[in-house]
Amino acid sequence: MTVLTDGSAKRRSGYALRPPASLTLICLFAALAGAALIALTVGAAGIPLARLPAALGLSGDAAAGPSLARDQLVLWSIRIPRIGAAAMVGALLAASGAIMQGLFRNPLADPALVGVSSGGALAAAAAIVFTDSQIGQNLRFMQHQLLPIAAFLGSLATTVILYSIASRSGRTSIAIFLLAGIAIAAIANAGIGLLVFIADDRQLRDITFWMLGSLSGATWPKLATLAPVLAIAAIACLSIARGLDVLVLGEAEAFHSGVDVERLKRISIVLVSAMTGVAVSVCGVVGFIGIVVPHLLRLVIGPAHRLLLPASMLLGAVLLVGADTLARTIVAPAEMPIGILTAAIGAPFFLGMLLRQRGLVSQ
């Protein structure tokens, strides 16, 4: 019998020392506040910490210098929506990774890695191209809603196909799952390539934006799309947490323990698709957040989903706010696409996980 572990299992001869849940959440909230504060002050137009309260309208009287109007403009119309979008997208991606890993009982599952993000991006790109055509004209007015919905449906279709390929009578093969994911991602990328080929210049600019993955297009209306999805997802996450815990025993055992496995799987698949799809519709394909965040957290707080899912949301937010801040400062005044940054950090991390736990693939 091979004993499969999640890396941390071998530490400290297997004894789990875990911090209390409240401490974990407080630390993560503090980290998020810190990351947001740094993100507010740095950038192409630097706003020193001293000028921040005035620009945010927290202290009226302060030196209302000539820079105040500029500071306010930068903060309210660019930086705050962008930080908000980064935080919410990070939260969605990290939690959808954690749910997918619970669903497939394997820490190597990640929506971006197995083509769920690409499926969403394909549908979003299709929406851009086809809403421009004659048929789509009357849909164009609802573009803000159309793109997230299209991306969600694309992600949903991809997840359902993946699940039905990788699962057979309650057993899931992670090797087949990852390979099928590669194939599906390739098909989706071919589809995106085809759309790029037939797109006109303006559409091309819109599509390119997804393929690179950038938060520079974050606006208040996009936050208004993200926020309700995140809120609903957070509540749904708590309702499936125990089910996902028990699912780690296998589908048959989860059923024996009283979990309605079919219902749990349906909810998880819809959740993963909605969270990934909406994130993709806002900032394109950003990989590896979904794999890095839950893995790091399991090492510290353990794998129980009741804490893992909210903590993943927080750490995902911290990480993406940090990565986005880095992306817009390291090559300033230009900007690095954030997808490149997360891949550059996440891919070696993934390889490291793979090398340490080869057993995870050959089950």
């Binding site: 572990t5 789990a16 125990r242 048959a252 323990s257």
Partner: protein, 268 residues
Amino acid sequence: MTAILEAQSVSMVVGGATLVDGIDLRVAPSEMVAIVGPNGAGKSTLLRILSGDLRPTRGQIKLKQRNIRTYPPRQLAFHRAMLSQHVNVTFPFTVEEIVHMGAGDAGRAAAQRLVDAALGEVDLAHFSHRQLPTLSGGEQQRAHFARVLVQLACGEAQHGPGLLLLDEPTSSLDMRHQIDLVETAKRRGQNGTAVIAVLHDLNLAMRFADRIVLLHRGRLAVDGGRSEAITAETIRRIFEVDVKIDYTDQGVPFLLPQTMRPAGAPTA
């Protein structure tokens, strides 16, 4: 006495192969039934049908006089608990967290009492904060048994005596823990729990079971007390081994395998 579990001419056909063939079985409260038989006789399939996990091709299962298919999963878990043969946990849950999963949504204090008691019964109290994947196969099997005991206790607290199903629960255990496990299951019988266990070890089955059900090629070959079920004749016919049956000082029969059935001898 009314049966806790009743299987009515249950058959299972998968891809043209008949795995389970017209089995009738009644198990009463407090009864401990061992299912034995050669590899591929359909023991595990039958147990999965009895648990409600597999839907039989023909026939039906009644759990406490009600068709098992009509129970929603959560309700079913209150009336029967099942320990599967192989449970593979990939995430670093601790032993205690795994055992806690058996408690479902029971109250915190009550659940903790049951978890502690079950960990004691399987002799893993000192390992409660170890991560399950770091334990040996046998220790993991005991942890899962503790989880199933907690589930059974939670259900019985609300709904009275239930059904405990065990699929080769002793396959990775050393001798002492094999006996511990079967005795623990047997003790549950004193409160009315019906126990059905697939066992490989015929001696263990004869020592503890009230009744032995012998499966052969999907059919129920023998169903009876240990002395009727296990005879040298049946063992030779079904397992194709010659055995010598002897008796302990307390009159419990035990088996001593002798040789393989000679080649060329007629099959049963």
